[in-house]
Symmetry: C2
Subunit: 147 residues, 2 copies
DNA sequence: GCGAAAGCCTATCATTTTGCTATGGATTTC
DNA sequence: GAAATCCATAGCAAAATGATAGGCTTTCGC
């Protein structure tokens, strides 16, 4: 399953914002772009989608940037994926529409509907907090440096 | 999850061949195109992929057409999907390569690798026979007419 | 044998999607 | 008021998608 850079960058940016705004400060698109090695202008467009989805708040002006608009524990990956790409997850009711008795309907009901159902269920059970937790685990819990 | 027409038509065509070649006769691309309402020339290209994947045999000449090259019970959907689209399922070893300790690796290990693993496992557990069974179930088992 | 019927192969092409780049306006802080 | 930042939109090249078209090759039926 190939995922677009838009989805990839969007998820990484959201996690970056979550990780670096914990002390109350904002995270600018320039910071994220440098840390994650993404074109800043492209990133800004993607983050607009995250803002419209209600996951981050943008603060204009000098010293502006982004913060999460809800705790990471309540940001479900299903929502984020839908905001970044409206084809990656199928709607729940979409599965019920294939009631014909042709071959295509059979393929849908025994293959695609089941796969889509699992993907929806799995991404609804995961939150941004899980991603952050995985990251902390991989860095041994010691990625914060205090002077 | 949006699926390309190539994958959709390919699966339908394969099931059509399986269903209509049971009495030993061949199934022509023209027949399939008419029954499934697909452009015949486009369909031919797709079926070439099915033949190269080893799922069907093509018989040239008048009275030619296609038949399965193995029993439907041994045609796994994972193989078929890989033959029709090499991005739809990820390789098994691909998952093991993401061992970095950056955010992207974390997203991969807790989201994409798990989703891909499930998709692979699920499609490896399903065969063309399951699709055909679903179709027969939907038509009430009475789609064959004897004169 | 010959012709029709079928598979097989390749080229072409329009449209859409993807992945950016660029420009500039709006707003806030210092 | 100037710098920094978000916000919005336009443009654009490359790739993928979804076909269409032409013609060669092989085989069956007569």
């Amino acid at each position: 399953m190939k995922v677009s850079t838009r989805v990839e960058y969007g998820l990484v940016a959201l996690a970056d914002i979550a990780l670096n705004s914990e002390n109350g400060c904002t995270v600018s698109s320039a910071e994220i772009a440098e840390r994650q090695n993404i074109s800043q202008k492209y990133l800004e467009q993607i983050i607009i989608g995250l803002r419209q989805g209600g996951f981050v708040k943008g603060m204009k002006g000098s010293r502006g940037g982004y913060v999460l608009s809800r705790p990471a524990e309540r940001i479900y990956l299903s929502e984020v994926l839908n905001a970044l790409d409206n084809n990656i997850l199928a709607d729940a009711h979409e599965a019920e529409e294939t009631l014909g008795n042709d071959i295509l309907s059979s393929v849908n009901s025994c293959l695609w509907n089941k796969l889509n159902g699992y993907m929806r269920q799995f991404t609804e059970s995961m939150t941004l907090a899980d991603v952050i937790g995985e990251y902390r685990k991989s860095t041994g819990g010691g990625d914060m440096y205090y002077i």
